[in-house]
Amino acid sequence: MKKIIYLAAVAAAFSFTSCSDDDNTPAPPAQSSVEGLFVVCNGNYLAGNGSLSYYNPDDNSVENNVFQRANGMKLGDTAQSMSIDGNTGWICVNGSNVIYAIDVNTYKVKGHVTDVTSPRNALAISDNKLYVTNLYDNRIAIVNPATYTVTGHIDIPDMEASTGSTEQMIKIGDYVYVNCWSYQKEVLKIDTRNDKIVDRIQVGIQPQSIATDGKNSLWVLCDGGGWAENPVGFEAPSISRIDLNTFKVVSTIKLAEYSSASHLRYYNGNLFWLENGVQRMSADATAAPTAAFIPSTSYSLYALDINPANGDIYVGDAIDYMQDGTVTRYNASGDKTDSFTTGIIPAGFCWKTGK
């Protein structure tokens, strides 16, 4: 009899097929209406472990993985960016070919859009129109945010579909300005009243990010191609200023040759970007700074943003790209004031104004 019990125990032990050790962390607490910062974390390509963090700068608290905790499902593969319109946050999950609409207070999914190719950024144009830029597509998708369906596209003539790339968008008045990044050299001007490209201008190689003073100027950071054999070309990174009245490039500042520059931001008369740390330059400057505003030897700085309320600088560090990243907060003088841990590869910031 003991043998039978023993054998049964052994058989039972062998029949344990897997142990679910998933973390059962509780749902994140709902927010009050204070300002906060969403951090979109890429996760690792094909691993489906992108995530969303929420940081409260008032009390320096952070809630990680809020999407998964609120919805009981993963955010997806290579989460790219987030933008907010009202109480709805639009999260582009590049590798999963999906855009999630979430309630920015509860993080719960309100809807999702699937008929998009490698979505990069979403921008609310009106109550019934959302623009979505894409990688591997030469169109900007037009989404009806009420029905979560793609209702049309803005075609970009002379851009190859297979290498098509549209990236960040900034809306000023009735126009949206779009930088075309991967294998591209252009900035587009779109009339949101008829969803047509009304102008386009060539800048440096691979315009990676754009920033504006909200008035007459648009600055474009071009990464220069990144690698010498890039078929679109290779040059030193640069920052160009476009006069929005004429839509012409009025000045270009070359950055250090072979440097890696990205994530251009504008705040209070200054431009900020990542290049061997955080660079700061007056918007009126005619030459690049000779030293970093916040120096760093890290290879892995991956995101930058400025708190529009007080000028605090937030820098995302992916560390080794296979562990939770960190975000370091500096005051406007460049002094470190806080840091917090996020998900894997913090890649995008989105401010929740509380309005």
């Binding site: 097929t17 489906g48 999914v109 809807g111 699937t114 990676q208 990205s262 560390i319 296979m322 998900g343």
Partner: protein, 708 residues
């Protein structure tokens, strides 16, 4: 038999020896001589109509763990070597198995894959896939582009011999195996006299069909064999997808419900075809000549991960491969001298296409990648046995790789790179049986990859027999090894880094093994081994903020652990045969690098996707013409993050896997028939070996075989 040490020499160099007796294999495995009047109708009838048709001779012929006969004398080539031989019964378990499946259940390596017919790589002693050197009949088959080997592309039915050389022991054959080496080969010993035919048909879950055909001929001089394998499957198993939800909207587009969908494995279908031709000729004056040519044609759809919504539209995500491997060999034995030479060629064409429906009927192609690799290989070996206890050898090898890769979708077919590299390798070795108990061996290798020449790779081995009765032997080694960057690491655009240094490091092994016959019916064996190795300048591809990944020498790794194995085979009665083989490994593969920043939590942590603990067990019970086999393996939690987080994004849960098969052979007058049913994932484990890639639950396949 030639010179007493000729067998050792053959094994050490991986050559084929055409005198079948030297291999000590039971070549009756596939013979058919037992008459029977019965005929096969269906597989199930097979299994149940002939339960008592066995005879004592049948039992002798049954498949079992005892088919490999181990000679009592210790070959010089094995002095101090940590060696695992994959049992021939494991290779011949069923035709649906690839070497990835065989290694997963029969060795200490961890196999990472996203299911059948998907890229399957191994982690040997906690190292990267490219750190496992793989040869087929002595021909290096690691991809010169990526450095790794896809074991799912190697059907076990086309392999006659498979063995693992652990860690430093791989230096007795080749360099670059920082984790070890997998040595695969075909053998003339598996080709019987006269004409022989074997055909196997398999049919299983998910519309899976496997077919195998072998035609062979053998006489005193010639051994010819043609083998073909065709495998097709929809591979569309179902699973509950807990990584995403289906949302139910009302008419106002408000979510009113959600649930975890029962998804299918999307886009998992495949069709693989293999054709292997072997020709062996025993020429006069002790000259042996061989030629093996292996063609592989494969079309595989690449399964989507669990969080991909691309299938809301039509899409293409597909990989195609055409591979030709050819190796010609010559060996000459004269007195105390052995000379041998090989010349080989590998051509691989790989295509990867990714396209998504843009609008109805119009596809938007974003990736049209084509990679062509050509490898020319040649080596020669000289061996000399000045006395019965000493063997000296020297080898010289030349390998030229060329890789051309292009993405036609990227700006009108701009080439990513088209580069070649010539690798030269030379080694000298001495193996000395100093006393009847003490063996010593030394090898020094020098490799030059293109214009890069790392320091030589020396290795010292020793073993000592403590107890002859139990063959209780303690063995140890110390070695320096290196691994040069692959051509993708160096030149892929964007991200390749021509300034990469070779990965390198020292490793140390010590272990003890024993085997003993207990009475006339039982054999037992056991071994335990400890290893300690260091790999410096480990190459990783890391993202950059330029929008692409880049190869860098960024990591130092300290890998150490324990490998233990035990086996027993016994014949409790004339009709019975029982065998159990088990192994367990504890692997620490630790990031020994300095933290890259104050926030870096990876220092001192286990590398991702390396389980600390793994175990496997195979039990076989043969009774007359029946054969029951149970295979079990276990892998502990694998971290997916370098910081070793126990979260849903940071690790994959441990899992147990069980497979069961039952076979019935039916010897008839002129043919032998058999039927087999295999149950995979017996307990329907819900598991993943790669994050966000589901694996199939319980599934079945039935095999019918006829041998003439």
């Amino acid at each position: 038999m030639g010179h007493p040490l000729s067998r050792d020499i053959n094994q050490s160099s991986g050559r084929h020896c055409f005198n079948r007796a030297k291999f000590h294999f039971n070549s009756e495995l596939f013979s058919s001589s037992e008459p029977s009047r019965h005929l096969l109708v269906t597989a199930l009838l097979f299994l149940f109509l002939f339960p008592r048709a066995a005879t004592a001779r049948d039992n002798t012929l049954s498949h079992s763990l005892g088919d490999v006969t181990v000679t009592a004398s210790r070959p010089l080539s094995r002095i101090g070597v940590q060696y695992t031989s994959i049992d021939s019964a494991a290779l011949r378990d069923n035709i649906s198995l690839s070497m990835a499946d065989v290694l997963g259940f029969n060795s200490s390596v961890f196999v990472k894959s996203a299911g059948r017919a998907t890229l399957s790589t191994v982690s040997f002693r906690g190292t990267a896939p490219s750190h496992t050197a793989v040869t087929w009949n002595g021909l290096p088959v690691n991809s010169p582009a990526m450095g790794l080997t896809d074991f799912s592309m190697l059907p076990s039915y086309l392999i006659d011999r498979a063995s693992l050389l652990h860690g430093a022991s791989s230096l007795t054959r080749t360099s670059a195996g920082m984790g070890g080496m997998v040595d695969l080969s075909t053998s003339p010993a598996e080709i019987g006299d006269g004409f022989n035919v074997q055909y196997i048909q398999g049919a299983g879950s998910y519309n899976t069909f496997d077919e195998f055909l072998k035609l062979s001929y053998g006489d005193d001089r010639w051994r010819l064999s043609t083998r073909a394998v065709l495998s097709t499957s929809d591979n569309d198993f179902t699973f509950i997808n807990k990584d995403r939800k289906e949302f139910v909207y009302d008419d106002n587009h408000t979510i009113i419900d959600s649930y975890y969908p029962k998804d299918r494995n999307r886009n998992g279908g495949y069709c693989d075809f293999h054709l292997l031709q072997q020709i062996y000729f025993s020429a006069p004056r002790r000259n042996d000549i061989g030629l093996q040519v292996w063609y592989t044609g494969s079309v595989r759809h690449v399964p989507l991960n669990t969080v991909d919504y691309v299938d809301s539209r039509d899409f293409i995500k597909k990989q195609r491969d055409n591979i030709i491997r050819a190796i010609a060999s010559w060996q000459h034995r004269t007195g105390a001298m052995t000379l041998s030479a090989r010349a080989g060629y590998v051509h691989q064409w790989n295509a990867y296409d990714y396209a998504v429906e843009r609008s109805e009927g119009i596809m938007n192609t974003s990736i049209t990648s084509r990679t062509k690799t050509d490898t020319f290989y040649s080596d020669g070996e000289w061996g000399w046995t000045p006395g019965n206890n000493l063997f000296l050898s020297a080898t010289l090898s030349v390998k030229h790789d060329r890789v051309a890769t292009v993405d036609h979708a990227a700006l009108a077919g701009v080439k990513s790179y088209d580069k070649g590299r010539c690798d030269l390798g030379a080694s000298v070795s001495a193996r000395w049986q100093a006393t009847s108990r003490l063996g010593l061996s030394a090898v020094v290798r020098q490799d030059i990859a293109g214009r890069d020449a790392d320091a030589p790779a020396p290795a010292l081995f020793a073993d000592y027999v403590i107890n002859r009765d139990a063959n209780l032997t303690v063995k140890g080694s110390v070695a320096r090894n290196h691994h040069y960057a692959s051509l993708n690491d160096l030149y892929f655009l964007p991200g390749g880094n021509p300034d990469l240094k070779a990965e390198h490091g020292w490793s140390y092994d010590i272990g003890v093994s024993a085997d003993k016959a207990v009475g006339s019916r039982t054999n037992v064996s056991a071994s335990v081994n400890w290893y300690d190795s260091y790999i410096n300048d480990w190459i990783l591809w890391l993202p950059t903020n330029k929008g692409f990944f880049q190869a860098r020498n960024v990591r130092n790794v300290h890998a150490y652990g324990i490998e233990a194995a035990a086996g027993i085979s016994t014949r409790p009665g004339d009709d019975w045969k029982i065998g159990i083989n088990a192994g367990v490994s504890w692997t620490a593969s630790i990031n020994d690098s300095e933290p890259v920043s104050p926030d870096d939590k990876s220092a001192g942590k286990q590398l991702p996707y390396v389980p600390k603990l793994s175990a496997s067990l195979t039990g076989t019970v043969a009774w007359r013409l029946w054969n029951l086999q149970y295979k079990w393996c276990y892998y502990s939690r694998r971290y997916t993050m370098t910081s070793n987080e126990n979260t849903i994004s940071g690790s994959l849960p441990r899992y147990f896997m069980s497979n069961l098969s039952l076979e019935r052979r039916i010897p008839l007058h002129a043919v032998e028939l058999s039927a087999k049913i295999a149950v995979n994932n017996l307990f329907n484990a819900d598991y993943q070996t790669i994050m966000a890639h589901p694996m199939p639950g319980t599934n079945f396949e039935i095999f019918l075989s006829i041998s003439i």
